[in-house]
Symmetry: D2
Subunit: 441 residues, 4 copies
């Protein structure tokens, strides 16, 4: 519904029925050329076929309607292609192939064309996360576990976490891209109609199309489709992690970040709202990816040499997963490239507990002097007193004669900046990984 | 991808972006009229708004693109509607409503329009199953458990099982239809902008649109959406059960049924094939329904008064579930209305085990005379001898002096028609349920 | 893993292997009695069988191990039961039934025993929500859409929304309970081995066990299992909605509610933390329910008269769904019965935007005097000025000569209590529904 | 339910609560040792802690119960461990760690211990598939698409397809194993309580446990858990493909293979049945893996520095996925190592269409002499005549003067053995991949 709401139009163009028709025609052309190269059909026939392999010559809507009785879109397309080619050459169209060969190869081609668009957005997201990690390496904020403030961290470390998540998932996308393979097996997976030429035609077709050559025809070995699905889900999850954190950080009561004001997310009737629209669409797209990918990774085995249904359900799943995943990436790129970060508000929130967030540290320091058990007793009591009395933790500690720390030591202990542990170092590790991973260094 | 491959065009028309725009406009018109009725806006303004509520006046594609920055399609549509209405009346457009009110109400309207098309197919499927059950009430065939022949049953009982499954799920679809409700809560669910008129406007709008009036605005109580999803999945599962059985029964080696030869499923290169295309598409659609419905029933709670993402992911889920479910129903209606049933082949398959399929019965008869333990020993031995020797079970039994049955008794015991238990009676029960359930009796 | 972490022990006892063995034995006993009642087996045999139907006589662990080669737990249990009964009566054990009959009937019995425990917690949750709705009918708080403050609402209306969600889902649980039916079909679903007694034995067995009598044996019509799954998911979703809202409201920065301090959720090292442990476990259980229910509602049709795998996967799904659903309900009951609600903090958060949250209302009031377009222009400008200048919205409005409101009118317009629309009335509707629905009124 | 039904006991032992307690203790011991190594705690304390890290000293059931109020099992275990250690050393237990560190690290250890058991079964499955591919390289059988016989293939090629699927998925399992990493971040992911020692302790702990060292603590970057889940699903899918094919091939009417008769799958009351119990359990386990893995790969992002629910739902998902995946592998290993293959029956089935399955080949041969259009017309007509007349295809062809082939040529054309294309070669490619992949060659 309203595809352009969720997915950028440049991607939708690659996922249109017309683009799929073109991809099927690309498969037919490559098949003909590979067959001509080994002498299975005349070169002139391959040339004629190649000329007819232009989607502009076909009516994608009509092919969809006719596909309903055939059960797949290759069958009516091959008929139309034969009619378009005409004459002797028509007999050489689709030689030795089955509909599934064409549909599967076309699916791979479509994925091959969408993935660079996706990777572009992924790289922009990674770059934006890296910049945030670098800039905010020492910007303190509250770490939150189960949505409760736990201890100080830095916004740089949070961004570094996003970055590592994106980089690790990117690796899977690249690997899945490398697994995209030509499919050619004929009706039974034996390439019987090609006689001894089978493997050579597969290799030639793969070469023509820039796809990998599989060990075997993969009619019912859907592992590479599932791997692609798993990779799309992985990168979407990494993106959704960023989106989810931003929605939480952008809450009116937290207000530590805000999505860019580029005409989006404003509300005319509610002028104080700055809706996190980009993150919201990313999260919506993430759910959609998960649903679509379930059609690629699950649902039971494909029977024998072609599944009755499981295969057909993949088409929609693949298109939907690519659309929603790229939609999520595009939205989050926009969000991250213009994200407003508010260090002052991060600091204000860090002070909300009036020092209690540092109790672990105070206890540790006390323990060094009076043992852990005694330290725990004293600090827990002070924390309770602070909470119940609504008094700053520091004041309670200062006033408690059992606390084995000087006022200066207490003040230092309550400074979040002094209790960031390895946060900076972890940021550096993430940025080092980014330097190694980034395509252009 | 290739929507018309999976879903009949009459349904796709109700699920198009343009149809959704019209449904949103229907919601706005009903809102304006209900507000005019209680005096919240002038009647003349409601009339002007109503005149502008025609999807032909708007560009659905442009709304989709603009919706990307707003995060939903109602926002750009309301802007376009205000511009179309113009003048003083424009200020009365969308009064007191929020985008979600319009999108949710429109979703309900779309469902309301598609469900009758679905029910039509469901009723045709039920009628076809009932006819098969009636016709084949006494047609013996093998029952199969874990895909192994177990005992005789009848094709009538199998069809009766399909029928009961469809009738029970139909009940859920009708119930979900009755739960389709108007949504109107305003930005916070309080209808604050309507002052004291809130509940009256909700009631009026519901009346205008023929939708139920909910107890509360349901921005983040998605139960009725989930119920619709669960009902669509239930009826799809009932349909897929039929499809799955037919694919198995149509196997070359089983050949007990065949899909109708209405130009579908034939293979020009493989002339002996009669592909179960309709059942295949139904099974593919069933997987798609499951994936889409997961967006309606799962994925975690909707936050506060509007979810950031979970709500937006529903739109695609609902449309996809309706499309795939109706697609499955349409396919199976076609299959069942023309299904070729082959009682002779059913009988031949029943004889494949050369009597062994009746061993349970023979054992029971023997047990009545010589006790169960002895009967079991003798019959198990005879069965093994028959299997290993490749001899008909009857011959082994005839030759075995320990078998306490006469040759005539043995022959009778091996007749599948004599061991159908309550099959006929169960068929009658299913047909009685059908008579009660059928809309027209 | 660590079942008792997620599910109360009183429920785990009903879901243990031993409890399932007892449920299978209950099915066998009821079968024997029903058969004796129609004369299919001797009454004395039924009595002997009944005496042996006590789980304490069997080793559940051994049955599990032996079940691996049979493929189901009924097969080894029936063998053990026959051995336990011994003598002539042993031959009458399990007469005419198949393993699936026993396992399916036992599953229904287990569900029948767990659902009252679940309903008890559901009713306590509903009661707690109703109490919160009543108490806080006029407690103002911020409504939040996309996690941004939108307009004022009341905590009572929020609780009323939880209440309606729970009540509507409760209805589905009760309906699913009523659908729990005995399963008895024999190896082929024809009850052939029972001769003419089939239907009477089914009815008798249903009566013995207090389960519904199905139209047909339902070996591969899994609709009632799916309905139970859908109902469990529905009630879990209603519960998870409460849990999700509470986790958000309990955030350190929001702090409008807190889970009860009953020894849970405290952190010794982080004394300021009050972890929403109950809600967290409810949310975890909700995800688990969704995963388990997918085994009951999805995964494709069951083949012919017994599925090879789909059936077997249900067992774990049903047990897991019941365990996780009751776990979620138990946790949230505890949370809601002791929830700390902080109206003062709700009011403070409502004032966070310093009046901007009321801009919609100010605009509406202005529009009544100067038209909507002009009102929008003025109010939007004032809101921007307030935001950019960090000044209260009221001060900006007071100082703006174009605003057609007196200072008193402005002050009234900015009072959230004056802009709650139908919130109170909606609370009353929810409470009325509760009065009608509540088992004891 | 009845875990031992689905999963071998040697695996269940590694997945028990007690095994998880041991894994958590292993994590604590490694933490203490790593801390002692850098001087963060005394070596003597680490020694005392190590001595207490024995699961036999703790009550796993009690920890489960206590975990309900803490929300995780590490919290009560750490308390029990401190009590066990006692004295001064108790204060050094769990230093700087958070519960999630221990639970996540323990999960990785459990996976690390189960994966070798899984890989053993995978390797046995691969070996069995390779043996079948080799043995049946030239055993003709029908290829089936949409469950209809399409063209001849070989059983060797089918087994080669299973083999490649298993080998490719095995690769993912090994990769996921290599990604299993220690988790140590402390309450905020900064390791603040370890001062400058943080990274060194992480490295030391990883070394102690033989786990990978992650770039960052991964509290809410669940990518490696999702990768493990995706790999388990991938190998399960590869296994389920084999199981699904075997169930179909073992149908009474097809009877081309049968599961081994090792006391399993026999039916005493139905002696002719040889239930494919192993494949059935593998298919059931495959569905269970899919459901459990959905808890690892989906369900939305983990919030901030620890998720409220999403994390807790993983535990059950991981345990369940490991249990069901190993269960599937163990079952199929048993099936494949004893699979009965019936080449004679394969050949009989191949002859079921009485030559029609070779029509594509006949058409191709005719086309070489009389052009494709004319060949198609003649062969289609002959096929129809054969079907309608119930006559062997060869007889029709012999009698048709338009067929441009001699009787000998027709006979040769109808021989399936002459139309196997690249089947043998593909088998060789799969075996070559196996030789490269096999751990021991």
């Amino acid at each position: 519904m309203f595809d352009a709401l969720f997915t950028p139009e440049r991607v939708l163009a690659e996922l249109s029925d017309r683009a799929f028709v073109q991809a099927m025609l690309d498969a037919e052309r490559a098949l003909a050329r590979a067959e001509a190269a080994v002498g299975a059909i005349p070169v002139s026939a391959a040339d004629e076929i190649a000329r007819a392999c232009d989607a502009a010559l076909y009516d994608a809507d009509r092919i969809a309607v006719e596909a309903r009785s055939a059960g797949n879109p290759a069958e009516p397309l091959v008929r139309a292609l034969r009619a378009q080619v005409g004459g002797e050459a028509a007999a050489h169209v689709h030689l030795g192939a089955t509909s599934q060969d064409i549909v599967d190869t076309a699916s791979m081609l479509v994925a091959r064309r969408v993935l660079p668009l996706l990777l572009e957005d992924i790289d922009a997201i990674a770059a934006a996360c890296a910049a945030l990690a670098r800039t905010h390496r020492a910007t303190p904020m509250a770490a939150r576990t189960l949505q409760q403030q736990a201890l100080p961290t830095t916004f740089g470390l949070k961004a570094a976490g996003w970055l590592v998540g994106v980089l690790e998932a990117r690796r899977l996308v690249v690997a899945a891209d490398g697994r995209l393979a030509v499919q050619l097996g004929g009706a039974a997976g034996t390439l019987a109609a090609l006689g001894e030429h089978g493997p050579a035609v597969v290799a030639g077709m793969a070469h023509e199309l820039g796809l990998a050559e599989p060990t075997l025809p993969w009619h019912t070995d859907r592992a590479r489709v599932a791997e692609l699905g798993a990779a799309l889900l992985a990168i979407t999850n990494a993106i959704a992690k960023v989106a989810g954190d931003i929605v939480l950080l952008a809450q009116t009561e937290v207000a530590e970040v805000a999505e860019p004001l580029d005409g989006r997310g404003g509300s005319s009737t509610l002028p104080h709202k700055r809706n996190p629209v980009g993150s919201t669409l990313a999260l919506a797209n993430a759910r959609r990816v998960e649903a679509h990918v379930s059609l690629l990774t699950g649902g039971g085995p494909h029977e024998h040499e072609r599944a009755a249904g499981a295969w057909h359900a993949e088409w929609d799943g693949l298109e939907g997963a690519l659309a929603a995943c790229t939609g999520a990436a595009d939205s989050m790129r926009g969000v991250l490239e213009g994200l407003a970060v508010r260090p002052g508000q991060m600091r204000r929130n860090l002070d909300l507990t009036r020092g209690l967030i540092m109790a672990e540290r105070v206890e540790t320091l006390c323990a060094e002097r009076i043992g852990r058990a005694e330290a725990k007793r004293i600090v827990t009591g002070a924390a309770r007193a602070a909470t119940e009395g609504g008094v700053p933790f520091g004041e309670v500690l200062d006033a408690d004669p059992d606390v084995p720390l000087t006022p200066d030591e207490i003040a230092a202990a309550l400074d979040p900046l002094g209790y960031l542990g390895s946060a900076g170092l972890f940021v550096d590790r993430a940025l080092a990984l980014y330097s190694e991973s980034a395509p252009s260094g």
